[in-house]
Symmetry: C2
Subunit: 230 residues, 2 copies
DNA sequence: TAGATTGTTAATCGATTAACAATC
DNA sequence: TAGATTGTTAATCGATTAACAATC
């Protein structure tokens, strides 16, 4: 029992015309690398096709891996030619979810929040940050990038009215969990957490945490090992 | 042939009194989680010991995994008791490399650079940012956190004199590679790259890149799947 | 001592890589 | 057609998990 389940049937093959398999974090990361490589490096010459071997060499990934990843998002290559670059880009873009624009809000308009808003590179990937909230009276009304900072009290209503599904949390760690609870209560389905706390949310809600300490551990470890090697 | 090589001998068991195995990124990440859990959550009650099962439950990691990770950094538990919390924290702290303070410089004093300097949480992990550089005359002389912004021309000499081994790159993507080359030329051994470019460096130099797009892909993918599920 | 927990070996699982027939 | 490249199956590798004797 159980042994007879057909794995493939999990991703039902035809759903309208779109094909939306659940992709693991690892696959998403690789797809993103392919996408950046294809949109950035070929921009100069705009080569019409690319082979898995070419990408493999440039990114130091196995060519079979690439063909598998492409197959997973429904891409088919051409015999002796390779893959059409524009088609690959479109397919990756869509399966990463960037083709379907979505709105997000920023919570915590401190230095980091301001830096993220000023960066502005989100639009390229479908995200539009439509409001910023803070509880500091001095910051309220301030203009940060495209947003005017609003008071936290207005947050809940805003999320509900606009049906916001993403919140970017750039708050001090002591208030993050409380805000996360409120956001989820108002309907938020994903939190991009830049505060150094582990958030607890109901299952089904995605938390993506960017902890500075993870990067630092890799760096510190490398430096220490290198030093001890002499 | 080759089959006889003893894996264990790679990490030579005694080197002075310290024990510095090469740790994979995955292990580093887990160790960091354990560390944060032990230093943050037990701070309130300061329990003297902890079992692998307790950590496992709190962090949703397999208990055997934890014992293996601990063994990899030379930790020994006690029979029917578990592990001494302070000893575990010290061992993780040391094997991540945080026990050996190191200096870094920040290159590119824009919004993000300012945010990182203002954050100030680096000292906790052994990193001291001792200077900031920028090529914008308007920014030079400005005070950001603990640093006065210096011109890029002074960067090379500073790195050489102070023997700086880490640079944090928060520059626009078009200048990042050039700066990375210069930094490596001056002796930098690790680059923490916050600019959205893939850097090419000589082997032996570590590049840790924090690409915003990786996080976004996970979020966008989740939101899109969820929406299509109804 | 009895019982809980470690340390370690063996089994499982999943992800990566190799091989190669099918295809253009 | 001949030859390069795909798509896919099989083999390998490494990481995770289970099992259990050794230990306190």
């Amino acid at each position: 029992m159980g042994a007879n389940i057909n794995r493939e049937s999990v991703l039902d093959p035809v759903r309208g015309e779109e094909f939306l398999p659940q992709l693991s974090r690892r696959v998403l990361e690789r797809l993103m690398r392919y996408y950046r490589f294809l949109t950035e490096s070929t921009a100069k010459e705009s080569i019409p096709t690319v082979t898995s071997a070419q990408i493999a060499q440039a990114l130091d990934v196995d060519a079979t891996q690439i063909r598998k990843d492409f197959a997973a998002i429904g891409l088919q290559g051409m015999g002796r030619v390779g893959f059409e670059v524009p088609a690959v880009c479109r397919a990756i873009f869509a399966s990463l979810g960037f083709d379907q624009p979505y709105e997000g809000i920023l919570v915590g308009a401190g230095h980091l929040g301001a830096a993220l808003l000023a960066y502005g590179g989100f639009a390229k990937y479908g995200l539009q940050v439509v409001a910023a909230f803070d509880n500091d009276p001095d910051r309220i009304g301030e203009q940060i990038g495209p947003c005017t900072v609003k008071p936290d009290e207005d947050m809940r209503a805003f999320v509900e009215q606009r049906q916001i599904r993403l919140a970017i949390l750039t708050t001090p760690m002591d208030v993050s969990q409380g805000l996360a609870d409120e956001l989820v209560g108002a309907g938020v389905r994903a939190i991009w957490n830049f505060s150094p706390t582990q958030l607890v949310v109901p299952s089904g809600v995605l938390v993506r945490s960017e902890h500075i300490s993870v990067g630092l551990s890799e760096i510190a470890h490398h430096l220490k090992r290198e030093k001890s090697d002499r």
